[in-house]
Symmetry: C2
Subunit: 419 residues, 2 copies
């Protein structure tokens, strides 16, 4: 008997998460084993509130899928809901919804928090004797999930970071006096995205000249010495720094920057790592210096996505559907790289317990011993991921984006169809 | 007798300023009246230091020109040099350089400060009895030069702002709780670029919902009332605000934000307009709120240029060369719009004195009477400017950019050729 499926999105936005939704829905539409295809708004919150839509009706034409793939952030909305360690009222309400809609497969696209929900629901359904298969689909620009070569969303963010740093470098090269430009890149604990700035080096004639990741202690004295040396060598020094760099004592640099004094509204000064380095350079070296925070476009710039990323995001979504149909549950679909040159991947899976709440950091040996740079291994790892540009759609010069209408489906009306 | 020409770039970066350089050089290469084609590094500073290169040698292939057009910021570097009101040693050194290289035409690509240099040099050369024609080529993302329909560089910045605000809006729509997102856009005195965020409204399902320009007094009470109303109507409110918005008493909002207290490094809190509004919303409304500063990518995102802009930037560069050859001097090339639908422009010129040190603001009647939005006239003005996407070049997934080698030309060697 064909199963009804439900899919939801969770966690922080990426530019590729809708491609995974598209990939899963397309695979489900082609599968004999899937009857109804439902989407839940705002992840598990939508399951609790029964904000459920019929995705067969909402995604009709090939153009719908193409637009969806070119739309950043979660088209179905997101949530930050964490399930309790022990089954409670929320678990029961989720199961009630699943029963009402006849759900046999549940797909959850998200990061390590979301994989925690996948694990808990899988365990709960099994204990309840329900044959509901729960499969996780990875996404995060942080690239910090274990057991997968990389996470969809990261390659597009990496491409945007590399392109932006190259363009910011051009912007910094125009004046003929020594200057330091600091680009602050997302990454509280993992430095993958900051490391990706190394990809701009060929394009940007050597920039960034210094790269600092959270995985390596930040030494202000060494940083100042490196900047002084580079001011003499290249004049316009470009620095890429992760928001989460830490001093040797373990404090985030952004914590060290807190002045303890409050502004007119009573708020503390919460300058980030980039601003802190800017102030350090101004005070200790005194040259022209500015910091630029790469903003939410890092994760939402659908206009500059890696083609490899969007294809893989789709592929891993489709792989998740095949896993569920083959009887798997409590697993996350993964990407395995068999080679970098030529680049080749396949899709696999791991028990989601190996991923939930785990973090994969940049290996220490991919950072230069003295800090301030990454190694050739990192470059070789990153290069294949940013290849190609996913098509982006403009209408009259501005983006065309996709949005779901909020036509919620009442379980009584649809559930009957899947019997 | 054919004249040698010199061209330089000045002021702040744009993504289109190299297209004007390309257009002028291509037109000069095709003109009978031009012998040597020189470029000066860092504008007039390079003239003073004789950092002059041979552009016929530096730009050889059609690919060189295409790459140059797709490279942001000044490939020849920039400067912020202002000439004194009365001719001094710098004027004399500039004339000496021009004589040494046999320069008969000088082109300066820049904003209102640069047009001041064009005017002063024109006057000085005429008083000195020299037939050196000086022609200005407009550029600025601020779009604040009078006498031209718009300035090259602005349309590409507008396209980036509209696209970014749409993508940031998608990023803001994902959570199912009320929120306010404030995008701070460049523009200290002119609100053109912030106004361009209105172009994202169709793409981004109504966002930005509120738009504030420096040309209209900012009323915090009215802003809070509008935000409260919109939180009820659309839940996720997107606000576009110019960095230079002012309170009724004339103070910049960013000045009003100064707390008077200093951080650990002794620096005052210099929060911008976006951060100030963020704090205001947090204190007075208390909902989820964040501010995003659109950074230097606004002016340097060559990867997302308006095709109209790049073609016009080239066109106005070529027009400047024709103006000089026709005997004009002390003028700036301009863009005149004859119609918006279908969009049609021609190139003209004005005495540069009408532009130098002048500012063109957004007309008050293009801002809604109660503030917080722009009118249909503004939308009609903006729409044609962002049409089409200029090709951008990737190699292995990262940008390909152009850079000049610093092969300075000694005047003795080359000047002889043009005799």
């Amino acid at each position: 008997m064909a199963k009804n499926m439900l899919i939801g999105q969770s966690g922080g936005p990426t530019a590729a998460i809708n491609a995974s939704l598209a990939g899963a829905v397309q695979a489900a539409m082609q599968a004999d084993g899937i009857a109804e295809i439902y989407g839940s708004f705002n992840g598990l919150e939508g399951v609790l509130r029964r904000h459920i839509i019929d995705l067969r009706a909402a995604l009709k034409t090939p153009e719908d899928f193409e637009l969806l793939k070119a739309t950043p952030a979660m088209a179905l909305g997101s949530c930050r809901l964490r399930l309790a360690a022990q089954p409670d009222e929320k678990y029961r309400k989720i199961l009630e919804t699943f029963r009402a809609y006849g759900i046999g497969c549940f797909f959850y696209i998200g990061g390590n928090d979301s994989m925690d929900s996948v694990r808990k629901l899988h365990d709960y359904f099994r204990a309840a004797g329900e044959d509901i298969r729960v499969v996780g689909i990875p996404k995060t620009i942080d690239n910090d999930l274990p057991c997968t070569d990389h996470t969809p969303g990261f390659p597009s963010a990496a491409k945007f970071v590399a392109t932006s740093v190259a363009e910011i470098a051009c912007d910094s090269f125009v004046y003929d006096r020594p200057s330091v430009t600091i680009a602050e890149i997302m990454g509280r604990n993992a430095g993958w995205l900051t490391a990706a700035s190394v990809l701009s080096r060929e394009a940007a004639f050597g920039a960034p000249h210094l790269i600092y990741l959270p995985e390596s202690d930040f030494d202000p004295e060494r940083f100042l010495a490196d900047v002084r040396r580079l001011l003499g060598e290249v004049r316009n020094v470009i620095v890429a720094v992760a928001e989460g760099i830490r001093l040797r004592d373990g404090r985030y640099v952004s914590e060290a920057s807190q002045s303890g004094v409050a502004d007119a509204f009573g708020h503390k000064d919460l300058a980030g790592a980039g601003k802190w380095l800017e102030r350090l350079v101004r005070r200790e070296i005194g040259c022209k210096v500015r910091s630029v925070e790469l903003n939410v476009l890092q994760r939402s710039a659908a206009h500059l996505c890696s083609d490899v990323d969007i294809r893989e995001a789709q592929g891993v979504g489709a792989a998740a559907v095949r896993l569920a149909l083959a009887g798997h549950s409590g697993v996350m679909a993964t990407i395995s790289r068999s080679a970098s040159e030529p680049y080749a991947v396949s899709y696999g899976h791991v028990p989601v317990g190996l991923v939930a709440n785990q973090v994969r950091n940049v290996p220490r040996e991919w950072i230069t011993p003295e800090g301030g740079d990454v190694t050739g291994e990192m470059l070789a790892y990153l290069r294949p991921l940013v290849q190609g540009e996913n098509p982006f759609f403009f209408l009259h010069g501005v983006p065309r984006l996709f949005r779901f209408a909020r036509n919620y489906v009442h379980p009584g009306r649809k559930a009957a169809l899947s019997q």
